[in-house]
């Protein structure tokens, strides 16, 4: 089994994937933190993102929904922030990244989805006070390793 142990290996492996496979593994990263988002639209768009049979139209529509959800979940400039809700915002952002065409995202959709998923977990850690830095990365290494084997 290909074992991913750090971000360098993680990113090289992600970049080696074709756009459809990047989207599918990105969807798995987001699913891993989906519980942090209360907006049901994200679960729906992830089903589209993770499905290798999704049509271009379905993907475009899912991206539109993910973007709208991201904006709806963000903390407005100047309003009082709630880190639990902010975790949901990052989950939505991760879903948006997963669905964004590869050419529109300099850092790569799957990498960006991974980062935003980690940020969701960080936001949650601000609520709970737990130090979870690095934990989500390790889970993502495992998810990617399993994905590459599948």
């Amino acid at each position: 089994m290909t074992r991913i142990n750090n971000d360098s290996e993680f990113r090289i492996a992600l970049d080696a994937l074709d756009p459809a496979r990047q989207r599918q593994v990105a969807a798995r990263f987001v699913e891993n933190v989906l519980a942090l988002c209360s907006d049901e639209r994200i679960a729906r768009v992830l089903r589209v993102a993770g499905n290798s049979e999704s049509s271009e139209d379905a993907l475009a529509e899912a991206l539109k929904t993910a973007r709208a959800t991201t904006f709806d979940c963000h903390t407005r400039c100047g309003s009082e922030g709630d880190w639990a809700e902010q975790a949901g915002y990052f989950v939505a952002r991760a879903a948006t990244a997963a669905l964004t065409p590869i050419g529109q995202m300099p850092s790569g959709p799957a990498w960006q989805a991974a980062l935003s998923s980690r940020m969701a977990q960080t936001s949650q850690s601000i609520v709970t006070g737990d130090d979870t830095a690095g934990q989500e990365s390790n889970q993502q290494y495992r998810i990617l390793s399993e994905f590459l084997e599948s």
Binding site: N6, D7, S8, E9, F10, R11, I12, D15, A60, L63, K64, R67, A68, T70, F71, H74, T75, R76, C77, G78, S79, E80, G81, W83, Q86, Y89, T100, G103, Q104, M105, P106, S107, W111, L115, R118, M119, T122, S125, I126, G129, D131, A133, G134, S137
Partner: protein, 426 residues
């Protein structure tokens, strides 16, 4: 007259300094400022003409400081400013003006209308006519240190997250560092990747820097709402922290009004010059580029354009630096039709984004940005203000425009040469 109205009118009187008096007496009522304001051009509503938004302040100036105005007031021929009028004007001053300063650029007699709006907000706030959302943000800025209620443990968590991603430490409270980085709450909450982008760039360029745990907030709600005492207190916190850490420079992040507040208004607010320099992050990055300390690799293949944040470009003078930086990483860059110092605002600055009441109007005036973008059809939009960024995303989404909005600093970080990238392939 109510006590709050009296307070407001006294504040108006106190705000009428020589420039304001000169501006009012110079206005020739040509209406050119209307055509420069997206709130007018996109609504055709004459009450949204910039100079009209100042009408209560103008009347106070005339009645209190001009011969004919004083005479008219003495014989009962002038209409006093009322509480009802200030209620009517509140949306004109707070919802329909981003203090972008575009009107000031076209005024044939050189009136700084944005400066006058800033002055007028002082009176409006004193009279109790400021938006509830801005009042809340200002209270949090004073009591918590952040308009969005971001406390130090939250920043520390974001820093730990960034450090785990980066594999190296982010300096906090390092005495004697050259630069002290400020962050906006928007960055800490909505775009924390900015922190790791900066850390990567500074490691790459060998910049000596730190974040202060005592004053990390860059934004200044006192300026947005129009309460100079609060604005000054918020500036003082930064000055004190910079003095304590003995830094040579303070960096204003990707936030438009924060730059205006700390760089241009700050010394006047506290009544003395700083012991340190203030630079915008783009100014610093461009200096590093000039010195050969910022090296990038690869180019974006997508067609990029740049949205100039008003307070950074038009009112701040940072126009060429972002273009120099974009040139390092863009293979296909195109300017919008009106850009640089004459760019059109995103519609969300000056506290408008913090004011939920203004949402519908904000999206309506986004049509101006849409027209600019429709003229050049970029694949992605780059900017350098987290507030612009999120509300550009909103406007694009609302108008069905499929276009990501990128941070310039983060885009540079993504193209750094060498091994500073997390998971770098170099």
């Amino acid at each position: 007259m109510s006590a709050s109205l009296e307070r407001g009118l006294n504040a108006f009187k106190g705000q009428i300094d020589a420039p304001v008096a000169a501006f009012f007496s110079s206005c020739v009522r040509c209406g050119l400022c209307a055509e420069a304001c997206l709130f007018y051009t996109e609504t055709d509503d004459p009450t949204l003409t910039p100079i009209h938004k100042l009408e209560p302040l103008r009347r106070v100036w005339r009645q209190e400081y001009t011969f004919w105005g004083k005479l008219a007031k003495a014989v009962g021929l002038s209409k006093p400013v009322t509480d009802e009028e200030l209620t009517e004007w509140e949306p004109l001053v707070y919802d329909s003006c981003t203090m972008c300063g575009r009107c000031s650029m076209v005024c044939p007699v050189g009136n700084e209308i944005a400066y006058m709006i800033r002055k007028m907000r002082e009176g409006m706030a004193a009279a109790g006519h400021a938006p509830t959302d801005l009042i809340g943000a200002t209270q949090r800025a004073v009591t918590i240190g952040s308009p969005m209620g971001v406390k130090l443990p939250a920043l520390q968590a974001q820093i730990r997250h960034a450090e785990a991603e980066l594999g190296f430490s982010i300096p906090v409270d390092v005495e004697g560092a050259d630069y002290m980085l400020l962050l906006s709450s928007m960055e800490i909450m909505n775009f924390p990747e900015f922190i790791s982008a900066i850390a990567r760039i500074f490691k790459h360029a060998n910049v000596s820097w730190t974040i202060s745990s005592e004053a990390f907030e860059a934004t200044n709600s006192g300026i947005q709402i129009g309460v100079s005492e609060i604005a000054a207190e918020l500036v003082e916190r930064i000055v004190t922290a910079a003095g304590k850490l003995k830094v040579k420079s303070v960096i204003s992040p990707e936030c438009g009004h924060a730059y205006m507040a700390i760089r241009w208004e700050g010394p006047n607010l506290i009544g003395r010059p700083y012991d340190f320099k203030v630079v915008h992050i783009l100014e610093l990055l461009d200096e590093l580029r000039e010195q050969g300390r910022l090296q990038t690799t690869g180019k974006e293949t997508q067609r990029l354009t740049y949205h100039d944040p008003c307070q950074i470009s038009r009112r701040g003078g940072v126009v060429q630096q972002p273009r120099n930086l974009i040139d390092m990483v863009a293979g296909d860059f195109v300017e919008m039709p009106e850009t640089g110092t004459m760019n059109w605002c995103c519609g969300a600055g000056g506290g408008v984004s913090a004011n939920e009441r203004a949402d519908e109007l904000r999206l309506q005036v986004f049509k101006r940005k849409k027209k600019q973008l429709d003229a050049i059809h970029p694949d992605a939009l780059v900017s350098a203000c987290s507030n612009c960024r999120i509300y550009l995303e909103d406007g694009l989404e609302e108008n069905g425009m499929d276009m990501p909005v990128l941070s310039l600093t983060e885009t540079i970080a993504e193209h750094l040469a060498g091994s500073e990238q997390p998971g770098s392939k170099d």
